[in-house]
């Protein structure tokens, strides 16, 4: 590690001014060859204006100086003003031009936005809606950035696979939000392991053990007069049909790193455990999972997920190889068989390290260059890997990859109105609940 200290982030910290973190975008060609390049300005529309959606819009605006935020959509009217003000303050009225007429509100807002004059749609809505919203955007002929995960059930996955084909026919780009795939540090690290530098990859252990995430309070009940769907949507992370549960909603990052480490090949099967260890609220998602994934050539991998208070936390991926372990995603490094650190990633000075930003930089650079990257199928498969583990835990069975793809599980109607009745199913019970077939 002695050679690494001169290019460390500490020097970077010292030399970067507070405002000096702008992405390296000046070099992008402004005249592209795809349909997007016919005009200098790319109009983007944001569906889902929460914290992550606003973050994505910010990254899109930073990625390319001729990107303009043109329209916004959210189920709830009060979600628009604050992000609009924030983004306007940073980028100015010229680049954030969303008059009332292009602020779409309600359950069909996504459709109105998709069919408006935007070129690119950014989606950061609860994943239960993703297949439907992605289809609408593709049918309207828009390029899409979609946050992870892509669906919460197999019906959604099958729907996505069809959308992927339509997008290919229409030459539309779909950029995924599995952000770690864009992390410069992890690209180098995973590249080392996958390139065979440490010998054969024998296993992968990924953890996402953290605290509670916007969990309902134990005593929380639906306010008088509010519809079932509205209440559940306002607390979407707590409900299976909206979030898919924490293995999909949050730990899908660890699951996707598993897929990455395995070279994105199909697994054989999965089995595992899960339950509600601390949760006592009205929602129906589990708060812990422990899944064993079986891969060809007798490779067994492990994913652990937990959202507990006052417990040990860890968010680490370990690619275990014959001659060492590649550790990520935060402090990307290699440990030898004795546990000694033999290599550590050091950021190259001045090179963008923020993976959320590199994701959007590459998205818009590709669009400018007329390079259409459609990652919908890849995303669907990575999400399905999460569903495989979740269903194994929910049913208590060993579920094969083929069994899973035969399933047509559909947890909810596509777009119920806010005042619709939506009873909350009890959390699944292993041994009793079965994988939904046909």
């Amino acid at each position: 590690m002695s050679d690494s200290t001169n290019s460390s982030r500490r020097k970077f910290i010292k030399t970067t001014t507070a405002a000096g973190t702008t992405a390296a975008v000046a070099g992008f060609p402004h005249i592209g060859r795809s349909e997007i390049g016919s005009s200098n300005t790319i109009k983007i529309g944001l569906i889902g204006c929460g914290g992550r959606g606003t973050g994505a819009a910010n990254q899109a605006l930073a990625a390319d100086k001729n990107v303009k935020l043109w329209a916004m959509a959210d189920a709830f009217p009060e979600k628009i003003d604050s992000p609009l003000e924030t983004l306007s303050a940073k980028y100015g009225k010229e680049r954030v031009e969303v008059p009332k007429a292009r602020q779409f509100i309600g359950m069909d807002a996504y459709k109105q936005l998709a069919e408006s004059e935007v070129d690119v749609v950014l989606m950061a809505t609860p994943p239960g809606y993703r297949p439907m919203m992605l289809r609408a955007a593709i049918e309207a002929g828009k390029h899409v950035f979609a946050e992870k995960p892509m669906a919460i059930d197999m019906a959604g996955i099958h729907h996505l696979m069809e959308t992927a084909k339509i997008a290919t026919e229409k030459k539309l780009a779909i950029q995924h939000g599995y952000c770690w795939r864009y992390s410069p540090a992890n690209r180098v690290g995973f590249g080392k392991a996958l390139g065979g530098e440490l010998g054969r990859i024998t296993s992968f252990v990924g953890t996402y053990l953290g605290g509670t995430v916007r969990a309902l309070a134990p005593e929380a009940v639906k306010p008088e007069g509010m519809g079932d769907v509205e209440w559940q949507l306002r607390h979407w992370i707590n409900f299976e049909w909206l979030s898919g549960g924490p293995l999909l909603e949050q730990c899908i990052h660890a699951v996707d790193k598993l897929a990455w480490a395995m070279g994105d090949v199909a697994p054989v099967a999965a089995f595992g455990n899960g339950g509600r260890g601390q949760r006592r609220d009205a929602g129906n998602v589990y708060d812990n999972y422990s899944i064993t994934y079986e891969y060809p050539d007798n490779v067994f991998c492990q994913i652990q997920q937990r959202q507990y208070k006052d417990s040990f936390n860890e968010n680490v991926s370990r690619i275990i190889c014959e001659n060492g372990t590649l550790i990520g995603p935060w402090k990307v490094s290699i440990k030898d068989a004795k546990g000694k650190t033999t290599w550590r990633y050091r950021a190259e000075k001045g090179v963008e390290q923020n993976m959320y930003q590199t994701c959007h930089n590459e998205f818009f650079a590709n669009l400018r260059a007329g390079k259409i990257v459609n990652s919908a199928e890849f995303m669907a498969r990575s999400t399905a890997l999460g569903i495989l583990g979740r269903e194994a835990a929910h049913t208590g069975q060993r579920i094969t990859w083929d069994d899973l793809w035969a399933s047509k599980e559909d947890q909810a109607p596509d777009n119920p109105p806010l005042d619709a009745k939506m009873p909350i199913p009890a959390p699944p019970i292993p041994g009793i609940d079965k994988l939904v077939q046909a």
Partner: protein, 420 residues
């Protein structure tokens, strides 16, 4: 409304300011005026007096309650009677934290042009006066910080109690009363000022990299924002009755130097740094338990290295030029969230960045892996090298001054633009 605030705050607030503060009604916090707007441009130099309104006035009632508790507890104000002591922290299971008494005095802040590897912004050197204070002998360890960030109470994003009103709950009568009371406590007890202090909301994921970095109770707290550390001071004050805040840069450097004028508190010989500090070349890419190296002459550990420590001051490269010799308790008051100063260097630092006069500053890259806008006000996702320690000035300040020390992050009420 504008009024004058002398930059040397230790001296006194202007009469105009105190009169203004006194005429503000306590009132219902929910009905209080919204946070005052920061001025478009702030001269940001001391000791030049500057006009600006106080931040976060709708939370002044909390600071006033705490000030009253500190005043009621009283204590010595004679410099000659100051002693080292152990603070007992009830919310941390009565854990103890040692503070060293530091006599007032004069010292040369900054480094001379001749000091190797120094940065331009460390000068010119100025002779400044510091009034007596106590300072933590160690960086604040997880033992004290965990009960603060894992407070287990439902809160809004700004850390205020989630429940709008305690009254709605405690009016419940009959057999449901016990449960209602329990639920109210889970939301936070409005009658307990320690709960009322704004405190961190849960992390979205483990930012402390617990798998790769230890989180044992004797390691220093890290990944803390400047705002979170200021609120920690308020939280600690509320439960101990002693006024705590972050040190100013001048106080920090005065304590670090411990009477020396050399590059390090142990002299100029950088080869000795390993005895006193965890830095980028001996720390094996991690932080270490507090006080596992030698202390300086005043008994303070890890002033060089381990985690870099927040101070109250905002950063500007030219600040020292505007500082005058003889300034009393100088404080470069920050009105923006970035950049602010961290002192002492860290386990991730070059050796020269651990010098007494060295000053690094915050950048928004420290929140790179926070995907949301606005970003968390409590955690630096990429600040595993950032921590803090606390001071208690001998003179107890006014409620308004306390409020200011604990709320400099709220000059700009919008939480967004700087973090984007």
């Amino acid at each position: 409304m504008r009024y004058l605030l002398p930059a040397a705050l230790g001296a006194a607030f202007s009469a105009a300011f105190l009169a203004w503060a006194a005429e503000k009604p306590a009132g219902d916090p929910a009905e209080a005026a919204p946070p005052a707007k920061a001025p478009a441009r702030f001269a940001n130099t001391t000791p030049t007096p500057v006009a600006y309104p106080l931040p976060s006035m709708n939370r002044m009632f909390v600071s006033k309650k705490i000030h009253a508790a500190v005043a009621a507890k009283g204590g010595s104000s004679a410099p000659g009677e100051m002693k080292d002591y152990e603070e007992v922290v009830p919310r941390a299971g009565n854990a103890k934290y040692k503070l060293a008494a530091i006599k007032g005095g004069e010292f040369l802040i900054g480094s001379p042009d001749t000091e190797p590897d120094r940065e331009e912004d460390e000068g010119p050197q100025r002779k400044v006066k510091i009034e007596p204070f106590w300072i933590g002998q160690t960086e604040i360890p997880w033992q004290l910080y965990k009960p603060f960030y894992e407070n287990g109470i439902a809160r809004n994003k700004d850390g205020t109690l989630l429940a709008a009103s305690a009254k709605a709950v405690i009016t419940v009568k009959g057999k449901n009363r016990a449960k209602a009371l329990k639920d109210a406590l889970a939301r936070g007890d409005h009658n307990n000022v320690v709960d009322v202090v704004s405190q961190p909301t849960p992390q979205y994921h483990d930012m402390f990299l617990s798998g790769e970095l230890p989180s044992d109770l004797n390691y220093p707290a890290m990944c803390t924002t400047h705002h979170a550390t200021s609120k920690f001071c308020q939280w600690l004050t509320a439960q101990t009755g002693h006024f705590y805040r972050l040190p100013t840069e001048a106080e920090w450097e005065y304590a670090c130097r411990a009477g020396t004028t050399t590059a390090y508190s142990f002299g100029d010989d950088v080869d000795k740094l390993d005895d006193y500090a965890w830095h980028g070349y001996n720390a094996d890419a991690t932080y270490h338990p507090v006080a596992s190296k030698k202390p300086n002459a005043w008994g303070l550990y890890d002033m060089h290295g381990n985690v870099a420590e927040w101070v109250l001051d905002g950063f500007s490269a030219g600040y020292r030029k505007s500082l005058k010799d003889g300034a009393l308790n100088p404080w470069h008051i920050p009105v923006t969230r970035y950049p602010r100063i961290v002192k002492g260097g860290s386990w991730d630092s070059e050796k020269e960045e651990c010098r007494s006069a060295s000053r690094l500053h915050s950048v928004n890259d420290w929140k790179d892996t926070d995907p949301q806008v606005p970003k968390s006000i409590w955690y630096h996702t990429d600040g595993q090298h950032i921590g803090f320690r606390i001071v208690r000035p001998l003179k107890t300040p006014s409620a308004e001054e306390m409020h200011l020390y604990w709320n400099t992050d709220w000059w700009e009420p919008k939480r967004n633009s700087e973090d984007l």
